[in-house]
Symmetry: none
Subunit: 205 residues, 2 copies
Amino acid sequence: MKELTKQQTKVLACVEVYLNKTGFPPTRAEICKELGFKSPNAAEMHLRALEKKGYISIQSGSSRGISIVKSQQSFEQTGEQMPVIGLVAAGSPTLAEENIEKRISCDPNMFSDSFDYFLKVKGLSMIEAGIHEDDLVAIKKTTNVKNGDLVVVRLEDEVTLKYFKKTNHSLELIPANKDFSTIEVDLREQEAFVEGKSVGLIRTH
Amino acid sequence: MKELTKQQTKVLACVEVYLNKTGFPPTRAEICKELGFKSPNAAEMHLRALEKKGYISIQSGSSRGISIVKSQQSFEQTGEQMPVIGLVAAGSPTLAEENIEKRISCDPNMFSDSFDYFLKVKGLSMIEAGIHEDDLVAIKKTTNVKNGDLVVVRLEDEVTLKYFKKTNHSLELIPANKDFSTIEVDLREQEAFVEGKSVGLIRTH
DNA sequence: TTATATACTGTAAAAATATACAGTATAAAT
DNA sequence: ATTTATACTGTATATTTTTACAGTATATAA
């Protein structure tokens, strides 16, 4: 498959995003509006190039007659197979193939925010937050978390799902179970890696 | 979801087949050609009806602006728009368009069993089962339930989500909250309709 | 009997859209 | 120095497409 120029890549992505959002392809004018072109011919030329290189096909004479032949970003769209990762005792919850227990077909945007994987909950430390053993918590990989967020944090080689509270040099990881105690970390003494935060949860009955 | 007439079913299938074949939706004229209609208005009217019943959505003013909301060929197709229904005080949780709060893109087979809609939880009666207010419980429409199942039951005009327990002529609907009491129904005196059972749950953090 | 819903035909106009043509500008290759 | 490829603007027009309106026909319900 021939390589695409920067602009051609943009146009192809634009078509795919539009298609995923609306269910039908964009017009030349809509591509222009999206990418800031001022002439429909700009879009036209890029589409012609994309067809020539085999990425799309254009049904001549039909409005919106664009179909994707070879998708660039088959990823991160709806109906993806999202990985489920066990909350392992040691090591980061990596997306390495050997850590993936299974995959669940769902939309990465089904919650308020997008997410990257499901973490399978072990233990009862968050039971009072309605988070049970074997629930799947949808995790968005980010270090941008604020107090009160439900976060995945790694301390040394241990990974845990807790409420986040940071005060000066101290980090508190708060459970939702009165039988468990808060983990307090002095950040001057010990490192803590925020792996991500929860944006949702699913449970199979 | 409202029932479709024979012709509406044909038109919906036609749109889906065309979409699968070409990657973009058909025009009114193309639907006519496919189904043997002689007036574009025939297609137009069927499309309007399909939109009204919630099977497709039409972007007015756009050519080929049809997108599938609920696929008929619901075979193994991931990424459907599953309806969310509020747990209303009165009446059945019907799939009528006016009761659908929104739709969530996900796989109807993401849980152990398939499901038909999400029910938005009101109140705290199931809190000890980790089911919070505003959680979305995935409901499979069925009357085939057994003791211990989490079920949606309608008593008179009231709909409730509780644990199911049936003994002879008596039905118990058991909450998971010590501040609530079990609803006992003598089936010789009062009717109880099992609308469905829960196969899973999702929550947005 | 009179509505009412379904299911169309036929026509036409307005709006959306593809697409051709004539240019401009820039960077890299020959 | 000239060509070639990329990357557009701007305009215009033929065609496609939506969509409104005026009818016809049939079956079912009130």
